[in-house]
Symmetry: C2
Subunit: 133 residues, 2 copies
Amino acid sequence: METLRTRTKPPETFAECTRAAVPMIQVLGRISGKWSLYIIMALLRGPMRFSELQRHVEGISQKMLTQTLRELEEDGIVHRTVTPIIPPRVDYELSAMGRELQAPLAAISDWTVRNGERVADARERYAARRNAA
Amino acid sequence: METLRTRTKPPETFAECTRAAVPMIQVLGRISGKWSLYIIMALLRGPMRFSELQRHVEGISQKMLTQTLRELEEDGIVHRTVTPIIPPRVDYELSAMGRELQAPLAAISDWTVRNGERVADARERYAARRNAA
DNA sequence: CAGAATCCTAGCTGATACTG
DNA sequence: CAGTATCAGCTAGGATTCTG
């Protein structure tokens, strides 16, 4: 399948673009939910219980933590282990696939670090132009 | 500033995680809008006029094309050139910063290609488990 | 402890109509 | 051609309450 694989030339046809973009957008949609990245980054440090995650991911509601974890679990990025004791204990950890996300995320992170200032400048200039008009 | 730069060890403290994640999430939020990636990928092939973009990005409404282009322009990822003739001509092209997104996006794309099947399997198993319950 | 269920609102999005 | 303006539907997300 033709994709956006590392190479010098971008996709040529629209069909190529679409086939390359659709799964990427699905994944980005998942990992760019408001909280997914925070959870993944917390779990990169190691397995964690539900309540630990809630403490580590500042500001997340119980609903969104549950919901986001379910989505990540559904995609096989996060593993969920229930220990049926009272009170219940549930541990979350990244799957191998989830840990492999670190490199791609680092690539995006690097881009944001390299370009953060340029983005900020661009926004200022954009705002200035808007005000001039 | 401490970030998620390419390295073997993930961020250690929550503060590190947050500082690394916040700008990344902003960027992902931008580029993972429903249409941004399609537009960026179309423009990776070269500059394009508004109407060309609309033809290349199948299904996008005129409103969302305008809106998404404005956001990408605001961030300095896309450059907009107006030629004041009648009828008006407006060309869009990726900035240097925008073109640099290709490598990070390729990294994510590679992940999706490598793991697409595993994600699909995980979803099936998840659905099967849900039905069993 | 780890959630499920409910209610509610802001904002994204599409469809449509109009303009320099 | 390349937009702007307006309206309406949907849903992501937060706050709150309840439970095994």
